[in-house]
């Protein structure tokens, strides 16, 4: 049953994750990207890179909350889609926005903090994408996990990149920041709780503390 679900759900999620890409292509083809198509392509690909990244970070908390281990099978796919949209976002910037004007590109990279943040996020994603195969995962063992903790830094860089470029109305980037804080907070919460109890054991009855200890 679980197998069957995965066999159907995986291609479904794959298709869904590609929908924004094909939607952008369709709008490009039908010239429906508005007055500033380059900006539109750039903003929408950036949106989806961030959304995929946040979805990737939702997988583990979802497993903890629902107890459904099967959800882990979507993590790599979502992570790779985050990389896909981030790469698309960078290519729109390099090829269409800057027109491969290397002088301008290097100047922007050096002088504009928000571009530097976004670019670092992309560069950090590269090793994660390259080591995402099952073989390398097995071969790297514990080191794989350490390496892939980079995803937290990448997400923070990505959200700051968005927050920093907005002129005045920061509502949207703030929503991403809040979701990210929530997703990171969920991971930190058990550690915070343990630390707090260790620091002030008097507040907690003995039995509860022992039973809450994590392996």
């Amino acid at each position: 049953m679980e197998r069957l679900l995965i066999r159907i759900a995986k291609p479904l999620v794959f298709g869904l994750a590609l929908t924004p890409f094909f939607w952008l292509l369709w709008r490009l083809w039908t010239q429906d990207l508005g007055a500033n198509p380059i900006e539109e392509l750039s903003h929408r690909s950036g949106d989806w890179a961030l959304r995929m990244l946040l979805l990737t970070l939702t997988v583990t908390p979802l497993r903890l909350v629902t107890g459904w281990v099967g959800v882990m099978r979507f993590r790599r796919m979502l992570g790779l889609f985050a990389f896909f949209y981030a790469l698309l976002h960078a290519l729109v910037w390099l090829l269409l926005d800057q027109g491969l004007n290397w002088e301008a590109i290097l100047e922007d990279l050096a002088k504009r903090p928000y571009i530097m943040l976004g670019f670092s996020a992309l560069v950090l994603m590269l090793p994660l994408a390259l080591t995402s195969t099952r073989g390398l995962m097995r071969r790297l063992g514990r080191r794989w996990q350490t390496l892939h903790r980079l995803v937290y830094a990448i997400a923070i860089l990505g959200v700051l990149h968005y927050l920093w470029l907005v002129k005045a109305d920061i509502r949207e980037p703030l929503i991403y920041a809040l979701v990210l804080m929530l997703l990171l907070g969920v991971r930190l919460w058990p550690k915070v709780r343990t630390a707090w109890r260790a620091w002030n054991p008097a507040l907690f009855p003995q039995g509860v503390e022992i039973s809450s200890k994590r392996p």
């Binding site: 508005g34 500033n36 922007d108 005045a168």
Partner: protein, 316 residues
């Protein structure tokens, strides 16, 4: 006065006029069919889409081909109607630009009020095809209809003590729904030095493409200062005041190191977060390279004299 010849423009960048006319027909048709209610409430007043009679040509116009009507009216920075570029066109129906009165006071001998229909009647309307350079590094060419700001200011007899002119946009969350949220310090405020305001290039616009100004472009009356970044050209003006002190302006109040009082287009002074050396021309196509930005947006010959002796790096 010397009129600078504009840079040549390639054929690929020009929108076929037939194309934008078709789009306008489509836009108007959909407005008419969807806007029955709107029409009922605005019978007597002139509205967007109506031709402004007796518009004369101006030697101040650039020979560059105007951006399409569709792009000019669907890609707007007008935060009162929404902070993304498409929102002002969608929310344009909230704004009721008729009837409309502009109050003029401060350091002048004849303070008073003037209605928008009166303005259209009293001041000969000209077509001014101007480049518009947004601080966000994009640009358009817009065939405004309007008249020199100086002509209106003189009517109210500014005193010798008047050094600046302060402008205020409408504050009315019913008509400008985004004013319910504190994105900017509402109402929007802008200002010019009096000599800038009196410069013949500086106009108040009442229309574009020969027609009454669409709401999303700042109806019924907006400032156009073609040598300054677009945010100086305040929309939907309700008050003008002559002042002795430099007035507060909305964007420089929000972020003084990013937006100055002068805000003259200047490729040599970058915005702290992006370059101002070049800009994207709206409507030029996906693969058109950015174009180099000119000092004072290409109007240096006419206006650079206003800033003789002023450090433009510091007074950005």
């Amino acid at each position: 006065m010397l009129i600078r010849k504009p840079d040549p423009i390639t054929a690929a960048e020009i929108t076929d006029p037939e194309l934008w006319k078709q789009r306008r027909h489509f836009l108007r048709a959909s407005l008419v069919s969807a806007g029955g209610l709107l029409l009922a409430s605005q019978v007597a007043a002139r509205q967007a889409g109506e031709t402004i009679p007796g518009v004369s040509k101006s030697p101040f116009s650039t020979e560059e081909k105007p951006t399409s009507f569709e792009d000019i009216t669907s890609y707007n920075n007008f935060y009162e109607l929404g902070s993304d570029k498409q929102a002002p066109a969608k929310n344009a129906h909230f704004l009721k630009p008729r009837p409309w009165t502009i109050k003029v006071d401060g350091a002048c001998n004849a303070p008073g009020e003037i209605g928008i229909e009166d303005i259209l009647k009293r001041f000969p309307q000209e077509e001014r095809i101007y480049r518009l350079r947004c601080v966000e590094a994009w640009a358009m060419v817009i065939p405004w209809v309007g008249f020199p700001l100086g002509a209106l200011l003189q009517r109210f007899e500014p005193r010798a003590s008047a050094k600046y002119v302060a402008f205020t946009s409408l504050y009315d969350p019913e008509q400008m729904p985004e004013q319910r949220r504190p994105i900017l310090d509402w109402p929007y405020r802008e200002g010019l030095r009096l000599d800038e305001a009196m410069h013949p290039l500086c106009i108040l616009a009442t229309g574009l493409y020969g027609e009454i100004l669409p709401n999303q472009n700042g109806a019924p009356l907006r400032l156009v200062v073609p040598w300054k970044y677009g945010f100086k050209s305040i929309k939907s003006i309700v008050a003008i005041r002559f002042t002795e002190q430099q007035p507060l302006t909305t964007w420089s109040q929000l972020s003084p190191d990013e937006y100055g009082f002068y805000a003259n287009v200047n490729p040599a002074v970058d915005h702290p977060r992006w370059s101002q050396k070049s800009h994207r021309v709206i409507g030029a196509g996906l693969f058109a390279p950015k174009r180099p930005t000119q000092p004072f947006n290409g109007y240096a010959e006419q206006v650079a004299g206003l800033y003789a002796g002023l450090d433009l790096q510091r007074n950005f």
